[in-house]
Protein backbone atom coordinates (compact mmCIF):
# COMPACT_ATOMS: atom_id res chain seq x y z
CA UNK A 1 0.00 0.00 0.00
CA UNK A 2 2.71 2.47 0.97
CA UNK A 3 5.40 0.89 -1.19
CA UNK A 4 5.89 4.02 -3.30
CA UNK A 5 6.88 6.12 -0.33
CA UNK A 6 9.07 3.34 1.04
CA UNK A 7 10.77 2.88 -2.33
CA UNK A 8 11.44 6.63 -2.50
CA UNK A 9 13.10 6.44 0.91
CA UNK A 10 15.14 3.41 -0.14
CA UNK A 11 16.32 5.12 -3.34
CA UNK A 12 17.27 8.28 -1.46
CA UNK A 13 19.23 6.20 1.06
CA UNK A 14 20.91 4.24 -1.76
CA UNK A 15 21.88 7.39 -3.66
CA UNK A 16 23.25 9.03 -0.54
CA UNK A 17 25.45 6.02 0.26
CA UNK A 18 26.59 5.70 -3.35
CA UNK A 19 27.67 9.35 -3.54
CA UNK A 20 29.34 9.14 -0.13
CA UNK A 21 31.42 6.23 -1.46
CA UNK A 22 32.45 8.37 -4.42
CA UNK A 23 30.56 6.25 -6.96
CA UNK A 24 28.19 7.43 -9.66
CA UNK A 25 26.18 4.37 -10.61
CA UNK A 26 24.19 1.67 -8.86
CA UNK A 27 24.29 -1.69 -10.65
CA UNK A 28 22.37 -3.76 -8.16
CA UNK A 29 20.13 -2.74 -5.31
CA UNK A 30 19.13 -5.36 -2.80
CA UNK A 31 16.43 -4.92 -0.19
CA UNK A 32 15.35 -7.26 2.58
CA UNK A 33 11.64 -7.52 3.30
CA UNK A 34 10.06 -9.50 6.14
CA UNK A 35 6.77 -11.36 5.86
CA UNK A 36 5.31 -9.12 8.58
CA UNK A 37 6.87 -5.86 7.41
CA UNK A 38 3.66 -4.72 5.75
CA UNK A 39 5.48 -4.44 2.43
CA UNK A 40 4.26 -6.42 -0.58
CA UNK A 41 7.23 -7.52 -2.75
CA UNK A 42 5.30 -7.22 -6.02
CA UNK A 43 4.19 -3.69 -5.18
CA UNK A 44 7.76 -2.81 -4.26
CA UNK A 45 9.01 -4.11 -7.61
CA UNK A 46 6.41 -2.02 -9.39
CA UNK A 47 7.39 1.04 -7.36
CA UNK A 48 11.08 0.52 -8.19
CA UNK A 49 10.34 0.27 -11.92
CA UNK A 50 8.29 3.45 -11.78
CA UNK A 51 10.71 5.48 -9.67
CA UNK A 52 14.19 4.44 -10.88
CA UNK A 53 14.34 6.83 -13.86
CA UNK A 54 16.61 9.83 -13.25
CA UNK A 55 18.23 8.20 -10.25
CA UNK A 56 21.68 6.59 -9.92
CA UNK A 57 19.78 3.28 -9.98
CA UNK A 58 18.16 3.87 -13.38
CA UNK A 59 19.93 0.83 -14.86
CA UNK A 60 20.16 -1.21 -11.69
CA UNK A 61 18.94 -4.72 -11.07
CA UNK A 62 16.51 -4.89 -8.22
CA UNK A 63 16.63 -7.80 -5.84
CA UNK A 64 14.31 -8.62 -2.95
CA UNK A 65 15.33 -11.02 -0.22
CA UNK A 66 12.19 -12.20 1.53
CA UNK A 67 12.54 -13.06 5.20
CA UNK A 68 10.11 -15.56 6.72
CA UNK A 69 8.38 -14.89 10.04
CA UNK A 70 10.44 -16.73 12.65
CA UNK A 71 9.33 -17.02 16.27
CA UNK A 72 11.14 -18.09 19.41
CA UNK A 73 9.60 -20.79 21.58
CA UNK A 74 10.81 -20.27 25.15
CA UNK A 75 9.62 -23.71 26.31
CA UNK A 76 11.55 -25.55 23.57
CA UNK A 77 14.36 -22.97 23.51
CA UNK A 78 14.19 -23.12 19.73
CA UNK A 79 13.11 -21.07 16.75
CA UNK A 80 10.31 -22.06 14.37
CA UNK A 81 8.89 -20.57 11.21
CA UNK A 82 5.37 -19.17 11.60
CA UNK A 83 3.97 -20.42 8.31
CA UNK A 84 0.59 -19.16 7.12
CA UNK A 85 0.20 -16.91 10.12
CA UNK A 86 0.37 -19.80 12.53
CA UNK A 87 2.38 -18.74 15.57
CA UNK A 88 2.02 -22.12 17.26
CA UNK A 89 5.25 -23.99 18.00
CA UNK A 90 5.22 -27.21 15.95
CA UNK A 91 6.89 -29.09 18.82
CA UNK A 92 4.96 -28.11 21.95
CA UNK A 93 1.96 -26.39 20.27
CA UNK A 94 2.21 -23.30 22.49
CA UNK A 95 1.65 -20.01 20.66
CA UNK A 96 4.56 -17.55 20.66
CA UNK A 97 4.41 -13.79 20.35
CA UNK A 98 8.18 -13.48 20.37
CA UNK A 99 8.95 -12.66 16.74
CA UNK A 100 12.68 -12.93 16.01
CA UNK A 101 12.63 -12.23 12.26
CA UNK A 102 10.05 -11.11 9.74
CA UNK A 103 9.63 -7.37 10.29
CA UNK A 104 12.68 -6.37 8.25
CA UNK A 105 12.43 -3.47 5.84
CA UNK A 106 16.11 -2.94 5.05
CA UNK A 107 18.32 -1.65 2.31
CA UNK A 108 20.59 -4.72 2.35
CA UNK A 109 23.37 -3.95 -0.11
CA UNK A 110 24.41 -2.02 -3.19
CA UNK A 111 26.71 -2.88 -6.06
CA UNK A 112 28.17 0.41 -7.27
CA UNK A 113 30.92 1.92 -9.36
Amino acid sequence: MHEFGIMESALALAEKNTRTAGATQIHRLKVRVGKLSGVVPEALRFAFAALKANTLAAAAEFEIEEVPAVCWCAACAAEFEAKNLNYECPRCHQPSGDLRRGKEMDLASLEIS
Partner: protein, 269 residues
Protein backbone atom coordinates in the same frame (compact mmCIF):
# COMPACT_ATOMS: atom_id res chain seq x y z
CA UNK B 1 -1.95 0.15 -4.34
CA UNK B 2 -2.07 3.62 -2.88
CA UNK B 3 0.04 5.95 -4.97
CA UNK B 4 -1.38 9.07 -3.40
CA UNK B 5 -0.79 8.42 0.25
CA UNK B 6 2.74 9.82 0.19
CA UNK B 7 4.01 7.65 3.03
CA UNK B 8 7.41 8.71 4.35
CA UNK B 9 7.17 11.89 2.31
CA UNK B 10 5.40 14.23 4.71
CA UNK B 11 4.31 17.60 3.40
CA UNK B 12 3.42 20.48 5.70
CA UNK B 13 1.38 19.32 8.67
CA UNK B 14 -0.27 21.17 11.47
CA UNK B 15 0.12 20.78 15.22
CA UNK B 16 -2.75 22.65 16.88
CA UNK B 17 -2.69 26.11 15.29
CA UNK B 18 0.95 25.97 14.30
CA UNK B 19 2.03 24.93 10.81
CA UNK B 20 5.14 22.77 10.68
CA UNK B 21 6.82 23.27 7.33
CA UNK B 22 9.47 20.87 6.31
CA UNK B 23 12.02 21.62 3.64
CA UNK B 24 14.43 19.44 1.73
CA UNK B 25 17.85 20.40 0.52
CA UNK B 26 20.72 18.57 -1.10
CA UNK B 27 24.24 18.96 0.24
CA UNK B 28 27.26 19.14 -2.10
CA UNK B 29 27.97 15.46 -1.43
CA UNK B 30 24.47 14.54 -2.52
CA UNK B 31 23.07 13.94 0.95
CA UNK B 32 19.38 14.81 0.92
CA UNK B 33 18.06 16.26 4.16
CA UNK B 34 14.54 17.02 5.25
CA UNK B 35 14.06 19.28 8.26
CA UNK B 36 11.05 20.44 10.20
CA UNK B 37 13.00 23.56 11.25
CA UNK B 38 16.08 25.54 10.46
CA UNK B 39 18.92 24.32 12.55
CA UNK B 40 22.63 24.79 12.85
CA UNK B 41 23.90 21.26 12.95
CA UNK B 42 26.78 20.37 10.71
CA UNK B 43 26.55 17.40 8.43
CA UNK B 44 29.50 15.18 7.67
CA UNK B 45 31.04 15.25 4.27
CA UNK B 46 32.77 11.96 3.70
CA UNK B 47 33.86 10.63 0.35
CA UNK B 48 36.13 7.88 -0.80
CA UNK B 49 37.43 6.62 -4.09
CA UNK B 50 35.39 4.85 -6.70
CA UNK B 51 36.25 1.23 -7.34
CA UNK B 52 34.85 -0.90 -10.14
CA UNK B 53 31.70 -2.58 -8.90
CA UNK B 54 32.18 -2.14 -5.23
CA UNK B 55 29.72 -3.91 -2.91
CA UNK B 56 28.31 -1.82 -0.08
CA UNK B 57 26.72 -3.91 2.66
CA UNK B 58 24.42 -1.43 4.33
CA UNK B 59 21.80 -3.48 6.18
CA UNK B 60 20.12 -0.23 7.10
CA UNK B 61 16.46 0.08 7.95
CA UNK B 62 14.68 1.99 5.18
CA UNK B 63 12.64 3.75 7.87
CA UNK B 64 15.61 4.14 10.23
CA UNK B 65 15.08 7.92 10.47
CA UNK B 66 11.64 7.29 11.97
CA UNK B 67 12.97 4.52 14.21
CA UNK B 68 15.62 6.86 15.64
CA UNK B 69 13.03 9.56 16.35
CA UNK B 70 10.79 6.93 17.97
CA UNK B 71 13.60 5.83 20.29
CA UNK B 72 14.15 9.46 21.31
CA UNK B 73 10.45 9.74 22.14
CA UNK B 74 10.57 6.45 24.07
CA UNK B 75 13.51 7.69 26.12
CA UNK B 76 11.70 10.93 26.94
CA UNK B 77 8.55 9.03 27.96
CA UNK B 78 10.53 6.67 30.17
CA UNK B 79 12.34 9.53 31.88
CA UNK B 80 8.95 11.08 32.65
CA UNK B 81 7.52 7.75 33.83
CA UNK B 82 4.71 8.28 31.33
CA UNK B 83 2.64 5.40 29.91
CA UNK B 84 2.08 5.99 26.19
CA UNK B 85 -0.48 4.25 23.95
CA UNK B 86 -0.59 4.24 20.15
CA UNK B 87 -4.22 3.55 19.25
CA UNK B 88 -4.83 2.29 15.71
CA UNK B 89 -7.78 0.91 13.77
CA UNK B 90 -9.61 1.23 10.50
CA UNK B 91 -11.60 4.49 10.11
CA UNK B 92 -14.82 4.43 12.11
CA UNK B 93 -13.93 1.55 14.45
CA UNK B 94 -14.57 3.79 17.44
CA UNK B 95 -11.17 5.17 18.48
CA UNK B 96 -12.44 8.60 19.49
CA UNK B 97 -15.52 7.18 21.25
CA UNK B 98 -13.34 4.76 23.23
CA UNK B 99 -10.87 7.49 24.17
CA UNK B 100 -13.61 9.92 25.22
CA UNK B 101 -15.14 7.26 27.47
CA UNK B 102 -11.72 6.21 28.78
CA UNK B 103 -10.74 9.80 29.64
CA UNK B 104 -14.01 10.27 31.54
CA UNK B 105 -13.65 6.96 33.40
CA UNK B 106 -10.04 7.66 34.40
CA UNK B 107 -10.77 11.11 35.83
CA UNK B 108 -9.28 11.38 39.29
CA UNK B 109 -7.29 8.16 38.79
CA UNK B 110 -4.84 8.93 35.98
CA UNK B 111 -3.94 12.31 34.53
CA UNK B 112 -4.37 11.88 30.78
CA UNK B 113 -3.40 13.79 27.66
CA UNK B 114 -4.10 13.06 24.00
CA UNK B 115 -2.37 13.57 20.66
CA UNK B 116 -4.77 12.87 17.82
CA UNK B 117 -3.94 12.53 14.13
CA UNK B 118 -6.22 12.95 11.14
CA UNK B 119 -5.70 14.05 7.57
CA UNK B 120 -7.85 17.13 8.16
CA UNK B 121 -10.21 18.87 10.65
CA UNK B 122 -9.94 19.05 14.42
CA UNK B 123 -13.32 17.41 14.99
CA UNK B 124 -11.80 14.58 17.02
CA UNK B 125 -9.83 16.98 19.19
CA UNK B 126 -13.01 18.95 19.87
CA UNK B 127 -14.82 15.75 20.92
CA UNK B 128 -11.94 14.71 23.17
CA UNK B 129 -11.63 18.16 24.77
CA UNK B 130 -15.16 17.84 26.19
CA UNK B 131 -13.53 15.51 28.76
CA UNK B 132 -11.33 18.35 30.04
CA UNK B 133 -8.12 16.55 29.08
CA UNK B 134 -5.42 18.46 27.16
CA UNK B 135 -5.58 17.51 23.48
CA UNK B 136 -3.26 18.33 20.58
CA UNK B 137 -4.51 17.71 17.04
CA UNK B 138 -2.08 16.85 14.26
CA UNK B 139 -3.55 17.44 10.81
CA UNK B 140 -1.27 15.31 8.64
CA UNK B 141 -2.34 16.81 5.32
CA UNK B 142 -2.07 13.87 2.93
CA UNK B 143 -0.14 11.48 5.13
CA UNK B 144 -2.00 8.29 6.08
CA UNK B 145 -0.18 7.66 9.37
CA UNK B 146 1.59 9.52 12.19
CA UNK B 147 5.39 9.56 12.31
CA UNK B 148 7.60 9.79 15.38
CA UNK B 149 8.82 13.28 14.45
CA UNK B 150 5.26 14.60 14.36
CA UNK B 151 4.63 13.21 17.83
CA UNK B 152 7.85 14.87 19.05
CA UNK B 153 6.54 18.22 17.74
CA UNK B 154 3.10 17.71 19.30
CA UNK B 155 4.62 16.71 22.66
CA UNK B 156 6.02 20.22 22.99
CA UNK B 157 2.49 21.56 23.30
CA UNK B 158 1.66 19.35 26.28
CA UNK B 159 2.88 19.60 29.86
CA UNK B 160 4.04 15.99 29.96
CA UNK B 161 5.24 16.28 33.57
CA UNK B 162 1.64 16.79 34.62
CA UNK B 163 0.51 13.55 32.93
CA UNK B 164 0.44 9.85 33.82
CA UNK B 165 -0.96 8.56 30.53
CA UNK B 166 -0.49 9.91 27.01
CA UNK B 167 -2.80 8.45 24.38
CA UNK B 168 -1.87 8.88 20.73
CA UNK B 169 -4.85 8.36 18.44
CA UNK B 170 -3.38 7.45 15.05
CA UNK B 171 -4.89 8.08 11.63
CA UNK B 172 -7.64 5.56 10.82
CA UNK B 173 -5.75 3.00 8.69
CA UNK B 174 -4.85 -0.64 9.34
CA UNK B 175 -1.88 -0.73 6.95
CA UNK B 176 0.71 2.06 7.04
CA UNK B 177 0.70 2.93 10.79
CA UNK B 178 1.93 -0.64 11.46
CA UNK B 179 5.35 0.27 10.06
CA UNK B 180 5.84 3.50 12.00
CA UNK B 181 6.97 3.20 15.60
CA UNK B 182 6.05 6.34 17.56
CA UNK B 183 7.93 5.39 20.73
CA UNK B 184 4.83 4.05 22.49
CA UNK B 185 4.87 1.47 25.28
CA UNK B 186 1.66 -0.21 24.14
CA UNK B 187 0.11 -0.50 20.71
CA UNK B 188 -3.66 -0.85 20.96
CA UNK B 189 -5.53 -2.16 17.90
CA UNK B 190 -9.31 -1.76 17.75
CA UNK B 191 -11.61 -4.19 16.01
CA UNK B 192 -15.29 -3.20 15.89
CA UNK B 193 -18.00 -5.86 15.67
CA UNK B 194 -19.38 -4.18 12.54
CA UNK B 195 -16.18 -4.99 10.62
CA UNK B 196 -16.80 -8.73 10.56
CA UNK B 197 -14.60 -11.42 12.04
CA UNK B 198 -11.65 -11.70 9.65
CA UNK B 199 -9.93 -8.29 9.99
CA UNK B 200 -7.05 -9.85 11.98
CA UNK B 201 -6.38 -12.30 9.15
CA UNK B 202 -6.62 -9.61 6.47
CA UNK B 203 -4.19 -7.22 8.19
CA UNK B 204 -1.60 -9.49 9.84
CA UNK B 205 1.24 -6.98 10.34
CA UNK B 206 -0.96 -4.55 12.25
CA UNK B 207 -2.60 -7.15 14.44
CA UNK B 208 0.69 -8.90 15.11
CA UNK B 209 2.15 -5.60 16.30
CA UNK B 210 -0.62 -5.21 18.91
CA UNK B 211 0.02 -5.39 22.64
CA UNK B 212 -3.72 -5.14 23.22
CA UNK B 213 -6.68 -5.76 20.91
CA UNK B 214 -9.97 -4.09 21.86
CA UNK B 215 -13.19 -5.41 20.36
CA UNK B 216 -15.48 -2.36 20.26
CA UNK B 217 -19.21 -1.71 19.75
CA UNK B 218 -20.18 -4.98 21.46
CA UNK B 219 -23.67 -3.52 22.03
CA UNK B 220 -24.18 -3.88 18.26
CA UNK B 221 -23.06 -7.53 18.05
CA UNK B 222 -26.53 -8.98 17.47
CA UNK B 223 -27.49 -6.38 14.85
CA UNK B 224 -24.20 -6.97 13.02
CA UNK B 225 -24.51 -10.77 13.22
CA UNK B 226 -21.09 -10.83 14.85
CA UNK B 227 -19.60 -14.29 15.43
CA UNK B 228 -17.74 -13.63 18.68
CA UNK B 229 -16.04 -17.00 18.98
CA UNK B 230 -14.69 -16.85 15.44
CA UNK B 231 -13.44 -13.29 15.89
CA UNK B 232 -11.64 -14.14 19.14
CA UNK B 233 -10.09 -17.19 17.48
CA UNK B 234 -8.83 -15.02 14.61
CA UNK B 235 -7.45 -12.40 17.00
CA UNK B 236 -5.60 -15.09 18.98
CA UNK B 237 -4.23 -16.52 15.75
CA UNK B 238 -2.94 -13.18 14.44
CA UNK B 239 -1.78 -11.85 17.82
CA UNK B 240 -1.26 -14.70 20.32
CA UNK B 241 0.67 -12.41 22.67
CA UNK B 242 -1.95 -9.62 22.83
CA UNK B 243 -4.34 -8.95 25.69
CA UNK B 244 -7.92 -8.94 24.40
CA UNK B 245 -10.72 -6.71 25.66
CA UNK B 246 -14.38 -6.56 24.68
CA UNK B 247 -16.34 -3.43 25.39
CA UNK B 248 -18.96 -0.92 24.34
CA UNK B 249 -18.02 2.74 24.66
CA UNK B 250 -21.72 3.59 24.36
CA UNK B 251 -23.09 1.42 27.18
CA UNK B 252 -19.90 1.30 29.23
CA UNK B 253 -19.95 -2.50 29.23
CA UNK B 254 -16.41 -3.84 29.66
CA UNK B 255 -14.92 -0.38 30.33
CA UNK B 256 -13.92 -1.23 33.90
CA UNK B 257 -11.66 -4.13 32.87
CA UNK B 258 -10.03 -1.93 30.21
CA UNK B 259 -9.44 1.00 32.57
CA UNK B 260 -8.11 -1.29 35.33
CA UNK B 261 -5.64 -2.69 32.78
CA UNK B 262 -4.39 0.83 31.97
CA UNK B 263 -4.02 1.68 35.65
CA UNK B 264 -2.11 -1.56 36.28
CA UNK B 265 0.16 -0.92 33.28
CA UNK B 266 0.80 2.63 34.48
CA UNK B 267 1.80 1.29 37.92
CA UNK B 268 4.34 -0.95 36.17
CA UNK B 269 5.76 1.77 33.89
Amino acid sequence: MCQECGCSKPGPYQVGDRKVESHTHTLPDGMVLTHAHDHGSAHGHAHGHAHPHQILNLNTGILSANDRAAEQNRGAFKALNLLVLNVVSSPGAGKTALLTKTLNELKGRLRCGVIVGDLATDNDAARLRTTGAPVVQIATGTLCHLEAGMVAEAMKQLDLRALDLLIIENVGNLVCPASFDLGEALRVVLHSVTEGEDKPLKYPPMFHSADAVVVTKTDMSAAAGFDRELALKNIRQAAPHAEVFELSSRTGDGMKVWCDYLIARKAKS
